[in-house]
């Protein structure tokens, strides 16, 4: 008897386990579906409302009663083109220069052992604890003296973004740390200079982190708001998309510009999102690596 009940019992337990597993999986699926909806709803709403023609202000419903391209056409007749072009230029130039600077910085701190290395890193850690906004006042005045504010805000903004970008070396330094040093040493033994080691050996291996750096540097200017607003200082010609479109949601403009904001949002988000989704793999690698190494 005993011999017979034992397998039956374990089978029952097995069945129970399976059932509870199915239940928990179902719950998880439900949660994931709800989550996906919550995460996507704002974006779906933006897209839907950008096609709304019957009114330009905020309404309590989502699905337009009348569809059309009017908001996008309106967009074309505002300064949006200018803002978009500004942002694109800033993003492209920043992406290139910032990547070079970050790579120089992180490669050096990862590979070379010089006397001031540790103090330098500690110093930059401390610098990073100051709120960046504090420097805004003086940088604005300095840029103003150089003639790089308001209508000329684009070069000014690039200068500011690029100049301090060396501080953000952590993620790529972590990556360089994982490339074995024996590679460098082997090349050095074969007579390569330090510079040749960097160009011929390390850079080809560092492709993921190069792409990650380019991607993040490219994406940041699209969302920068504070500094861009301070430096363009109310001059439409020098604004980026964030600053320009922010004004559309001010109390006095939201009545006419709400749906236009949605349309602009779609136009801004599409290229950035496509680029991001294409390079997602590298982004995930960078973010994960960065967090693990601190």
């Amino acid at each position: 008897m005993k011999n017979e009940t034992a397998p039956a019992g374990s089978l029952k337990r097995h069945m129970g386990l399976k059932a509870s597993n199915t239940i928990s999986n179902t719950i998880i699926y439900i949660l994931l579906v709800i989550m996906s909806i919550v995460w996507l709803i704002p974006f779906i709403c933006i897209v839907l409302q950008s096609f709304r023609v019957e009114s330009t202000w905020q309404v309590g419903y989502v699905i337009p009663k009348q569809w059309g391209w009017k908001n996008y056409i309106d967009l074309w007749h505002t300064d949006f083109k200018k803002w978009y072009l500004n942002t694109l230029i800033i993003a492209l130039v920043t992406a290139v220069i910032q990547t070079v600077i970050v790579l120089c910085m992180s490669y050096t701190l990862s590979r070379f052992r010089f006397k001031l290395r540790k103090p330098l890193m500690q110093f930059m850690l401390i610098l990073g604890m100051f709120p960046g906004m504090l420097t805004m006042i003086i940088l604005y005045r300095v840029l103003k003296d150089l003639g790089l504010t308001q209508a000329n805000a684009v070069p000014g903004l690039i200068l500011v973004y690029v100049a301090s970008s060396g501080m953000g070396y952590y993620v790529s330094k972590g990556f360089f740390d994982t490339i074995p040093k024996s590679l460098d040493e082997a090349a050095r033994v074969d007579g390569a200079t330090r510079a040749q080691v960097l160009y011929k050996i390390i850079l080809p291996l560092a492709k993921p982190i190069v792409i990650y750096t380019i991607l993040t540097a490219f994406m940041a200017p699209w969302g920068d708001f504070v500094f861009a607003r301070y430096i363009s200082f109310g001059t439409s010609a020098g604004m980026n998309v964030a600053v320009g479109m922010y004004n559309w949601l001010n109390l006095d403009q939201i009545g006419q510009c709400y749906t236009r904001f949605c349309a602009g949002g779609v136009i801004v988000a599409i290229p950035v999102t496509i680029l991001f989704m294409c390079l997602q793999k590298y982004y995930v690698e960078g973010v994960t690596g960065g967090a693990v190494k601190g």
């Binding site: 999986n25 998880i28 699926y29 949660l31 994931l32 996906s36 995460w39 704002p42 974006f43 709403c45 933006i46 905020q58 309404v59 309590g60 419903y61 600077i101 970050v102 120089c104 490669y107 610098l127 100051f130 709120p131 960046g132 906004m133 504090l134 420097t135 006042i137 003086i138 005045r141 690029v162 100049a163 301090s164 970008s165 060396g166 330090r194 510079a195 960097l198 994406m219 969302g223 708001f225 504070v226 301070y230 479109m245 922010y246 904001f261 949605c262 949002g265 801004v268 988000a269 950035v272 999102t273 991001f276 989704m277 997602q280 982004y283 995930v284 994960t288 967090a291 693990v292 601190g294």
Partner: protein, 515 residues
Amino acid sequence: MKKYSDLEYLQLSKGKRFLYKLASFFLAIPTFFKNLGLGIGRFFKNLVLSIGREFADIFSTFKNGDWKTKVSYLVMGFGCLARGQILRGLLFLAFEVIFIVYMITTGGYWLGMLPSLGKIGPHEEYSVVHDAYTTVYGDNSFKILLYGVLTLFFIVAFIYTWRANVKQNKIAEQILKSGKKLRSGKDDLRSMVDDNFHKTLLALPLTGILLFTVMPIVFMILVAFTNYDGAHDGFNNALFQWVGLDNFRTMLSWSGSGVNYSATFGEILSWTLIWAFFATFTNYFLGMFVAMMINKKGIHLKKVWRTVLVMTIAIPQFISLLYVSKMFSLNGIINGLLIDLKLISPSNAIDFLGNNAHSGLLPRIMVIIINIWIGIPYLMLIATGILMNIPADLYESSKIDGASGWKQFTKITLPYMLFITGPYLLTSFTSNMNNFNVIYLLTGGAPTNAAASGAAGSVGYTDLLITWLFKITTGAESKYYLASVVGILVFIVVAVISLIVYNVLPSVKNEEDFQ
């Protein structure tokens, strides 16, 4: 307190272990500050000693050196030139010439004005041409402070270069004495891409950081000791002056004239800390939870779930945040939906982000919730990467030992995650303290905190220190000096938290190192 050995510690009950850890954490804090003090003391002692050593070396080099070395003390690079190192010599010499010319033409003026920040302000003067009184502009305090600081930097650089020049001579003499050849200019250039490649690589980034981060920070720290504001802009309406510690006194004393800044500061600081705590940990645990759900065996379409979340990272924050803030506004979609569902009547729509009741409790909760929406995708990515690295056999063996899913989570997953992401948690806490975008784009600091609004810039219940700083700067009075004080205080808070966590936590954490 009695210190337990490892064996004794393991014999304690759970509650006692926790209390023991807690006690040892707090007991470690005084030691930490003691060590910090000792460390600072040691630093200055070493500094004084090394400066003394430098001077001794400078004198002995002069005494023992040949005439070429001695001339180099006055004419930089002379020794190099005389010994055939043309490139180095010329660089040293050029630097000295530039320095002297700069100091004579403009540097001296800036430096001389620095203690007073300008003597003649803008004033009315009779002009013969216009036959009327016109405003004549005098000194520019802003430029004096800015270029004064730059000149000081330049002087430090000069002293450093001069010292390097002296050292060069000493080394060159030694090399020649031992019968070897000196490096030529060609060798020097070659070393820039080889032995000294790190200097080449760092030159550009560090110059940028020096000019656009270090210099502004030094400048703004100094501004905290002046009365620089909209009414004293240093040139157009009035000069500004040094005021010593007055601004810190205004900010920190309890009896300000009219406005109580310290109470406002304390209120905003406490909300900033609460916000940073919740923003960090809600995201952390919920993100981990989501990652675990997606990673669970038997869940299909993993890629789809992940992609949906990751996509939200791609969309620039100003679009998503501004849009969400409008969704929750009085006539936004959420209220529209609630009205359609007959849950509320149109007349009492809920002001999610502007409700003033209970010191803005609802907006405060809302920004934390919306921040979860923003933050979970990042945390999901990070947690996924880490969870995949946890050795699967740990789970297998624990399962054989009969551990439940919850037990696996608390005994394996959580310790592993916390151990690996400890530093990340700290940085994300401090960056949440300075999370300008989320607060400013969502609420702009609203609803207004009537009690504190007398303080510069209108203060709201969801204002963080950083948005307050921004409001002070851009407010009607533009009290830059006050913004500087706030900035410095933010720095102090962040630095103290980081220091304590970095130094105290590991001693506790090491005990529970993940095994």
